[in-house]
């Protein structure tokens, strides 16, 4: 039995000062609650890594026009999807001027700066930031309810603990909210941050001022492993990386550290990062299991938000996580305020969180894309289709001294050569339309 008499008690302990944790801390502190925000890194953001695109809508609701103050890099105006084989690529390029005006659709951010800023907002609202402390486990009361946290020998009590401790969420596992993470429900994200002069980036990606580009790359990028590549422009760096589904990576016995270097040496990518200087190399798990991965969100005295709750959407064109994390934090904060009004922090008392999430865009979007993880597990996406598309383009543009073949026959021959039946094609097309 632990002696809990001598320790401080707070209204809420938030574990993890990422975007979810800091948002929750901000919202709760703003309402006058005593909030402690615990971060294991030396500063918020120091352990966090993401590809780097933040969709603005959810944070804009909480901190209107946050981009005016926050350290954001570039607003995404150019969206490009690339199907790639070893030697060729096929691009879909979409530029929207509307995205370069407020309310911006999305920004690239660097978490080491952005998360720090967000945590400062929480601090300014009254939350106490405690950096450099690793939370080891939850504390339980007589009925098994969560009543606080322990870090080493130290304990701290609170009415509610918010597990915002990221994709590995040791806390949610420890609290019994989720089991072992299966390999098919996470992606391994690896990223290189490459420094280039601002003007070079703007020239290569055809950007004006603070405009930015987001490239999604499918096919050879991952050497056939389920997943994709990305290339995002920051102010004077490029975030280039891959997300590869872990089960497939294991099956293919590939080393992510090698695959990313091969990816960067693809002529198309190499041209964009040419002359750049690596300034950081990082890796992070990406929740990719969709709805199937989501843990129980609430137990007595604890709730789970953000990556820790498995909230992520990857539909091939966009990879989302931060906006969902912020949305979940908002729902959690609301639920805690209501639970507080009832003075009931049991699963039932906090249960509104799940309902609020259910009603919000977060779960709506998760549901919309419920089939995408399955769709993306389709092997043809990484081998046959990029090859077909580029074959087709090659044939269209290659002129030999022989009569031109009709497009349809070219296409069906390419499909045959790449082992794709008409049935496969139609089925995949249909499934893609439904799940993306």
């Amino acid at each position: 039995m632990t002696d809990h008499t001598s320790v401080d008690k707070f209204d809420v302990i938030v574990v993890g000062a990422g975007v979810a944790g800091s948002t929750a801390a901000y919202l709760l502190a703003r309402q006058g609650l005593q909030v402690v925000l615990i971060e294991r890194g030396p500063y918020p953001g120091s352990k966090n890594l993401s590809g780097g695109v933040l969709y603005t809508h959810s944070l804009h609701q909480i901190l209107p026009n946050f981009w005016e103050e926050a350290p954001v890099e570039r607003c995404i105006t150019n969206q490009v999807v690339i199907f790639m084989t070893g030697s060729a690529h096929f691009n879909i390029d979409y530029k929207d001027e509307a995205f370069s005006k407020a309310p911006y659709n999305a920004f690239t951010v660097l978490r080491g700066k952005f998360d720090r800023w967000l945590a400062e907002q929480a601090e300014a609202a009254g939350a106490i930031l405690v950096p450099r402390i690793r939370v080891d486990r939850v504390l339980r009361g007589h009925q098994g309810e969560v009543i606080g946290i322990a870090a080493g020998e130290e304990e701290m009590l609170a009415d509610v603990v918010i597990a915002a401790d990221g994709a590995n969420s040791f806390l949610a596992q420890e609290a019994g909210l989720r089991g072992r993470i299966p390999t098919h429900q996470v992606g391994v994200g690896v990223k290189e941050l490459i420094a280039l002069p601002r003007e070079t980036i703007e020239e290569r990606f055809r950007l004006d001022g603070r405009e930015g580009a987001a490239y999604a790359i499918v096919g050879y990028a991952t050497q056939g492993v389920a997943g994709g590549g990305f290339l995002y422009t920051n102010l004077d760096t490029i975030s280039a990386g891959l997300v590869m589904r872990l089960d497939d990576l294991v099956q293919n016995k590939l080393k992510p550290g090698d695959v990313i270097e091969d990816f960067l040496s693809q002529p198309m990518i190499a041209g964009l990062v040419k002359g750049g200087k690596l300034v950081e190399y990082g890796a992070h798990l990406v929740p990719e299991g969709g709805l199937a991965m989501m843990p129980r969100l609430v137990a007595d005295g604890i709730l789970v938000v953000g990556d820790a709750a498995g909230l992520g959407v990857n539909n091939g064109f966009v990879i989302r996580g931060m906006d969902l994390a912020i949305g979940s934090a908002a729902a959690a904060a609301e639920a805690i305020l209501e639970a507080r009004a009832r003075n009931d922090f049991s699963t039932g008392g906090l249960g509104d969180y799940a309902q609020k999430l259910e009603k919000s865009f977060v779960l709506a979007d998760m549901r919309t894309y419920a089939r995408t993880p399955e769709f993306f597990s389709n092997d043809r996406l990484y081998h046959a289709y990029p090859a077909m598309l580029t074959d087709l383009m090659r044939q269209i543009y290659t002129h030999h001294a022989v009569p031109r073949e009709h497009l349809v026959s070219m296409f069906s021959r390419s499909a045959r050569e790449n082992g794709v039946s008409l049935f496969d094609l139609v089925r995949d097309l249909f499934s893609g339309v439904r799940s993306l």
């Binding site: 290189e192 992510p256 550290g257 190399y281």
Partner: protein, 94 residues
């Protein structure tokens, strides 16, 4: 950009090394009995794990703290937890 080895890339990063406090432990007794894939030897983006003289060795100092190894290890042979507070990789940009 010239290709860089993983260790060269890790060399660019910032770490607060917690000397004398490894945060990874490999239970080789379990690996030997239960594990055929030895996924840790290739899935780790930081190449933390290697086989040396027939032993699986974790060079934990370069760990990027992603957790890939722990999820990929089929036999629960890895004791992998975050480094102590304040230590480990420090993403300047992230």
């Amino acid at each position: 950009m010239n290709k860089m080895s993983v260790s060269e890339r890790l060399g660019v990063n910032k770490y607060e090394l917690d000397e004398g406090h490894p945060h990874i432990e490999v239970h080789e007794d379990i690996c030997r009995v239960k594990c055929k894939d030895l996924a840790c030897l290739f899935v780790c983006p930081a190449n933390v794990y290697s086989e040396q003289n027939g032993h699986i060795v974790a060079d934990w100092a370069g760990c990027l703290e992603c957790g890939t190894c722990k999820v990929a290890c089929p036999s629960d042979a890895l004791d992998w937890f975050y480094p102590r507070g304040g230590f480990g990789v420090v993403y300047r940009s992230g």
